[in-house]
């Protein structure tokens, strides 16, 4: 076939912005086979494969794209799943612009190859064919490993351990597996049916997933070891929400993004009263923060019918940690970005309900320790916006439950589990950790990379 020398990616069809902002259906519709093959022909299949080095789980990118070129879509899926247990998820939610696609040679002049879109295509195609059976698992080695948390880190670690012959039990605190893929990322970005299909692959590989199990409360890590688990992986994420500590934060209608998103995504509050968990209807909603969580919360608020939804972010757009595509989608859907602004007070009425948000304008000063220019308040710039709900999306830290019940586990002052960067080993022999539980809130794919590293280390530890 001819090489496709277009400077732009093949466009991916999307739902119309005005229409989609009224429902929770998936925004990006994915490539057809013809579009995927056309896009695959933009890949130069370079020998030094810089894209692979940019992928935290080292998917063999040119190889799977080659299979798509040839029309061998299932084979493309097999190439991906050799190293990536959640391709339908990654193709949708990875920040490809700062990972694989950042290093794509085609990106030097024009747009990089749409690697994420192609990965998604291969995974969705395989799922539509029901071709999720996992081939070539080794015989069981008789060794048991416990995985705490069924988010991206835990699922990836479990997947890699199963491929190495271990018996794996995944302990999940919620009533359904998936972690942030279920409670955090909304349906319109990552359909829950897709997450369940990926988890089913794991079950078919033999993973035992135990729900409603809050490790640290119902069982401790020491007790897991007593029960015969020879190694433990902690992938419990960073679920503890941070608040701003400004006046009015305990008023009604002030939510952590975790609460707002959990009600909507995990508990289906957007389908109330068909589902039992409620969420109140609001007209004016402010979301504080500039990450993916803030974008998700704002776009959910819009879909619940709010006329005005604001993103309040204290730096400028260039510093926003959210994925470019999500910022773009949010803007298309009519989210009002108030950049270089910060809330100083939430005002309420006598019933304790939110009535307004008081903001100040900021300017960027000298770079801080993180290398980003520090926002500085412009004196006298206060103004008030009418508001009836405020969602705080300024970050999360690891939940202290496992740390508190495991005194020997060394953690950072802010709660992150201390691990060896190379191996994921914690201060307790045989106990490994990875993902947001170690780094604080980061990305799905970095958590998956950490799960992969830990699986390799656990295998080495138990093979000694």
């Amino acid at each position: 076939m001819d090489r496709n020398m277009s400077l732009e990616k093949v466009k991916m069809p999307e739902l119309d912005a005005a229409e989609r902002a009224k429902n929770f259906e998936e925004v990006a519709l994915g490539y057809t086979a013809a579009m995927a093959q056309e896009e695959s022909q933009r890949c130069l299949e370079c020998k030094n494969r810089p894209c692979v080095a940019g992928c935290p789980v080292q998917v063999n990118i040119p190889e799977f794209i080659h299979e798509i070129k040839e029309g061998n879509f299932l084979e493309a899926y097999n190439v991906i799943t050799a190293t990536n247990g959640l391709p339908a998820v990654c193709g949708r939610v990875c920040p490809q612009e700062s990972q694989c696609e950042k290093y794509c040679v085609r990106g030097k002049k024009g747009e990089p190859v749409g690697i994420g879109r192609l990965e998604r295509f291969a995974a969705d195609f395989a799922m539509s064919q029901g071709a999720l059976g996992v081939k070539g698992l080794p015989p069981k080695n008789g060794k048991k490993v416990a995985v705490i948390g069924s988010g991206p880190a835990g699922l990836t670690c479990a997947s890699d351990l199963l491929k190495r012959g271990y018996d794996v039990t995944v302990f999940e605190a919620f009533h359904t597996a998936g972690g942030v893929l279920k409670y955090g990322i909304p349906q319109f970005r990552l359909p829950k049916e897709i997450v369940d299909l990926e988890i089913n692959v794991l079950k078919e590989m033999g993973a035992d997933i135990e729900l409603d199990m809050v490790i640290g409360k119902i069982l401790t890590i020491d007790e897991l070891k007593e029960q015969g688990y020879e190694a433990v992986f902690i992938g419990s994420g960073a679920g503890l929400p941070s608040f701003m500590n400004i006046p009015g934060e305990n008023l009604n209608d002030v939510y952590s993004a975790n609460e707002f998103l959990t009600r909507i995504n995990l508990m289906h509050a957007y389908q109330y009263p068909s589902y039992d968990t409620p969420i109140k209807p609001y007209s004016n909603v402010a979301v504080i923060g500039g990450g993916n969580v803030a974008m998700d919360a704002a776009r959910c608020a819009k879909r619940l019918g709010a006329g005005n939804v604001y993103i309040i972010y204290r730096r400028s757009e260039a510093e926003m940690p959210a994925r470019l595509e999500e910022v773009h989608h949010a803007k298309e859907e009519g989210i009002d970005f108030r950049l270089l602004e910060a809330p100083v007070e939430i005002l309420g009425d006598e019933k304790g309900n939110v009535t307004a948000l008081k903001n100040v304008h900021m300017e960027l000063g000298e770079p801080d320790a993180s290398g980003r220019r520090r926002p500085v308040v412009i004196e006298g710039s206060e103004y008030t916006l009418p508001m009836d709900a405020v969602i705080v999306a300024i970050g999360q830290s690891p939940n202290p439950m496992i740390k508190n019940s495991t005194p020997a586990l060394k953690t950072q002052s802010w709660g992150g589990i201390i691990t060896d960067e190379e191996t994921g080993a914690t201060s307790i022999p045989g106990v490994y950790a990875g993902g947001d539980a170690v780094t604080g809130a980061a990305t799905v794919i970095l958590a998956m990379g950490a799960g992969k590293t830990a699986a390799k280390s656990i295998d080495e530890y138990l093979s000694r």
Binding site: S256, D276, T277
Partner: protein, 281 residues
């Protein structure tokens, strides 16, 4: 799935269930709670563990059928199963070993949660007076159990239809005035009751522990839906509590947050407790 081994109606609209949950029973301690979900479209809601039996592998819950979810739970019978039961959650109650005499106060359904606290204190060798308050005679629960768990049981009714006429605060004040020297007061019930008990004991300088029951979703500290203001600081009831120092809790703020979803709650007209409450108001 968690099987219901026993079900009994303790009073009108107040149900007791013994649930098969061996892992939870093995770890449960007085003061802790579970989060339940009755079916696939159900919400998650918290209930205190009213009792547990480690040998039998069971926990007991006692609840009033006042909202959508507790009514759904009430429709389940013996032999049926609850979709999800998560626990034991929260920090177990902790009492100073030097305590000699305690007053344990329960308001209505709160008596079901006050009872294990009384038993716990009795087991520590503490002399326990229990004061149990009810609106009216018909909804008195656990009288025999409370009698057995305390050295003295005073039952009050708001309408005087049984026991002492008046509120629990009246009985507590009378006990203190007549010379009962309490080292600690434990108050569990509706927020106004805990608020007034705390205000009273503050006058006398008696340490007071209350058990808060805000709206919860996950119950594991990941959302802050249950947050309270305690001693001027934000606390999450599910991981920092549910027990707090009654002299430090901002009860008015807690009451406002508890009322947040009131407009949305679908309350069944069949519910007798609601009918009763409506009649009284």
């Amino acid at each position: 799935m968690f099987k219901i081994l026993e079900k009994a109606e303790l009073a009108r609209g107040i149900t007791k269930m013994v649930i098969e949950a061996p892992l939870i029973a093995r770890k449960a301690q007085s003061g802790q709670f579970v989060v339940l979900r009755t079916h696939d479209k159900g919400e998650r809601f918290p209930l205190t563990i009213a009792d547990f039996d480690r040998e039998a592998g069971t926990i007991t819950i006692i609840f009033a059928q006042i909202g959508r979810s507790t009514q759904q739970l009430g429709t389940l019978g013996q032999g049926e199963a609850i979709r999800d039961v998560v626990g034991p959650l929260g920090v177990a109650s902790h009492f100073d070993p030097s305590i000699k005499k305690a007053a344990v106060i329960g308001g209505g359904l709160g008596c079901a949660i006050a009872l294990p606290q009384a038993r716990h204190l009795k087991a520590m060798g503490v002399s326990v007076d229990m004061i149990a308050g009810f609106k009216t005679k018909d909804i008195i629960i656990l009288e025999d159990e409370m009698k057995a768990a305390s050295d003295k049981l005073i039952i009050t009714t708001d309408d005087g239809s049984f026991g002492v006429h008046g509120f629990v605060t009246d009985a507590l004040k009378q006990q203190i005035e007549s010379g009962a020297e309490y080292d600690v007061v434990v108050a569990i019930g509706p927020i106004p009751m805990m608020k007034f008990v705390s205000a009273l004991t503050k006058e006398y300088g008696i340490k007071t522990i209350v058990s808060m029951n805000p709206v919860m979703i996950d119950g594991t500290g990941m959302c802050g839906g249950c947050r309270l203001v305690v001693g001027g600081k934000t606390k999450f009831a599910c991981i920092d509590g549910p027990d707090f120092d009654g002299h430090e809790v901002d009860f008015d703020a807690a009451m406002r947050r508890l009322a947040m979803y009131d407009g949305l709650k679908e309350r069944s007209e069949d519910c007798r407790l609601v009918q009763m409450a409506d009649k009284e108001n």
